[in-house]
């Protein structure tokens, strides 16, 4: 890390909660027939976010929402850069996906390569009627033609910046920070 790092809070706990609430409403609007809805979180923090969103949707009196988890490590196109100790998380798909409306949930949307891998992996589990994408933070910088349907917060960042998402379950508190790494 360079000494010029500049860390600022993008979403504090309250803004984080408001963003999630709004995202839950938008997901419900996307998929009026909630019995077909399946929220699938991408390991790791996407899984926690999917669980929270599912709870918010259910709290509004909606029917129960199926949820799952997806680890895309084995579908990455950069195996040789994955690292010496690749940690592969759990993949849990709730039943047959055909005829369902899958919403992929992730913390940060950046290059789009993770989503590309997730789409490939989902295709091996069946043929959903529709797949949507929901992210807490869209930081720009796409390398593939991919766009999110539901976005909690959009922010412009450069390639040397970092977006850190913390969730209560794993990191103690809900918070999104941006670390500016200086001009590219």
């Amino acid at each position: 890390m360079t000494p010029h790092n500049d860390r600022s809070i993008l979403l504090d706990a309250r803004a984080f909660a408001r963003a999630l609430q709004r995202m839950a409403v938008e997901i419900t609007a996307l998929a009026p027939a909630a019995e077909h809805l399946v929220l699938i979180g991408i390991q790791r923090r996407g899984v926690e976010l999917a669980e929270r969103l599912a709870q918010l949707i259910e709290k509004d009196g909606g029917p129960s929402v199926r949820r799952g988890a997806l680890d895309i490590t084995l579908y990455r196109d950069d195996l040789e850069t994955v690292g010496p100790k690749p940690v592969i998380g759990e993949t849990r798909i709730p039943g047959d996906l055909s005829d369902s409306h899958v919403v992929i949930v992730d913390d940060v949307l950046y290059t789009g390569r993770t989503v590309r891998a997730a789409l490939d992996e989902l295709a091996d589990f069946g043929r959903p009627r529709r797949i949507s994408l929901c992210v807490l933070v869209d930081r720009g910088g796409r390398e593939l033609p991919i766009a999110a349907d539901v976005v909690g917060k959009a922010v412009k960042t450069g390639p040397r910046d970092r977006v850190d998402v913390g969730v209560k379950e794993l990191d103690g508190k809900d918070e999104v920070t941006v670390v500016r790494g200086g001009p590219a």
Binding site: Y75, L79, T81, G83, I88
Partner: protein, 323 residues
């Protein structure tokens, strides 16, 4: 170099951390084999040669499933190695394989040290699928995984290897793996089939199977090679079964819940009673299932993970399994 080195020759040269990494990496691969489409693209474009100088059904099929479920391209070469001298054959084979731009070789060979020999001469990753009386590391690893699944841990468990320890590469890989992960290891078998001086390795020796059963949490019953009888190591198969066979009646005397393992292929009614092999103590088929996951993990780890490129992947605090 990867997290577990260039080749997997044996468990002797792995650290406890490396062994745990392989076991933890195998966990998610179990689930891949339960999917409707049992295939992930992780090793797409990699070419793997399965070079078997000795007959093998289970191990070869298990490796082949592991390779195919990772989307690698595979070629099977079965060599009925009898006429050619091994040194020349292997060097020649190595050169030819390199010339065809392969990525990995899985080798089974009758001579101890063959995998090491090949690995030191080619740039491709080499995985030992059993070499002479030396090691059979993926069998050792799948045994460790099966024990961990059943007992939730390996450290502190008492594991007894039963039968022909002297000629067994499975026994050797088990000994290294179990002791590195902190298990207590015992052996039980006729003195003619135990290596001389094995007590000095800190291994408990049981002359009677009843004592071993009383002591152990896990029995790993090894296959008795039938030609051992012709060579005079044991008087007869019936005699062996009478003295060392793991039978229902003997297990009934066990003081605690005991796990029975066998690397296969079994000689029912020689080293193991059919009722035991098919009974509630047996995890023999779990071993076979775990074998595919372990081999996927080893292939995956050897194929990727170059530390110098790895900085980006170091975030996240995900831990491994139990142990």
């Amino acid at each position: 170099m990867t997290a577990i080195g260039k080749d997997l020759v044996g468990l002797e040269h792995l650290s406890p951390e490396q062994i745990r990494l392989i076991l933890d990496t195998a966990e998610p691969f179990k689930e891949v084999s339960e999917r409707p489409i049992k295939k992930v693209p992780a090793l797409r474009g990699k070419t793997i040669v399965n070079l078997f100088f000795e007959a093998s059904t289970r191990t070869r099929i298990s490796f082949e499933f592991a390779e195919k479920r990772l989307s690698a391209d595979t070629v099977n070469v079965a060599v009925s190695g009898s006429s050619v001298s091994k040194g020349e054959t292997l060097v020649d084979t190595a050169r030819n394989l390199e010339a065809m731009r392969i990525d990995m070789v899985v080798i089974r060979h009758g001579s101890s040290g063959a995998a090491q020999f090949l690995g030191s001469r080619i740039r491709s990753n080499v995985i030992n699928a059993g070499d002479g009386k030396h090691e059979h590391p993926t069998q050792g690893l799948l045994d460790l995984l099966t024990i961990r699944d059943r007992h939730g841990r390996i450290a502190g468990l008492k594991v007894c290897l039963v039968g022909d320890i002297l000629h067994s590469r499975v026994a050797r890989s088990n000994l290294w793996g179990l002791t590195k992960l902190g298990a207590e290891v015992g052996v039980c078998g006729p003195r003619t089939l135990l290596p001389r001086g094995i007590e000095e390795l800190g291994v408990q020796v049981f002359d009677r199977i009843e004592q071993a059963i009383e002591w152990a949490d896990v029995l790993n019953v090894l296959r008795l090679q039938l030609e051992r009888m012709e060579k005079g190591f044991i008087p007869s198969l019936r005699e062996y079964y009478r003295v060392f066979g793991v039978t229902q009646e003997r297990l009934a005397q066990a003081r605690r819940d005991i796990t029975v393992m066998h690397p296969g292929p079994m000689n029912r009614g020689v080293e193991i009673d059919s009722r035991v092999a098919d009974g509630p103590h047996s995890v023999i088929l779990d071993q076979v299932t775990n074998g595919v996951a372990i081999r996927m993990a080893v292939l995956y780890l050897l194929a990727g993970g170059k530390p110098e490129l790895a900085d980006a992947a170091k975030r996240g605090s995900a831990g491994g399994g139990a142990e």
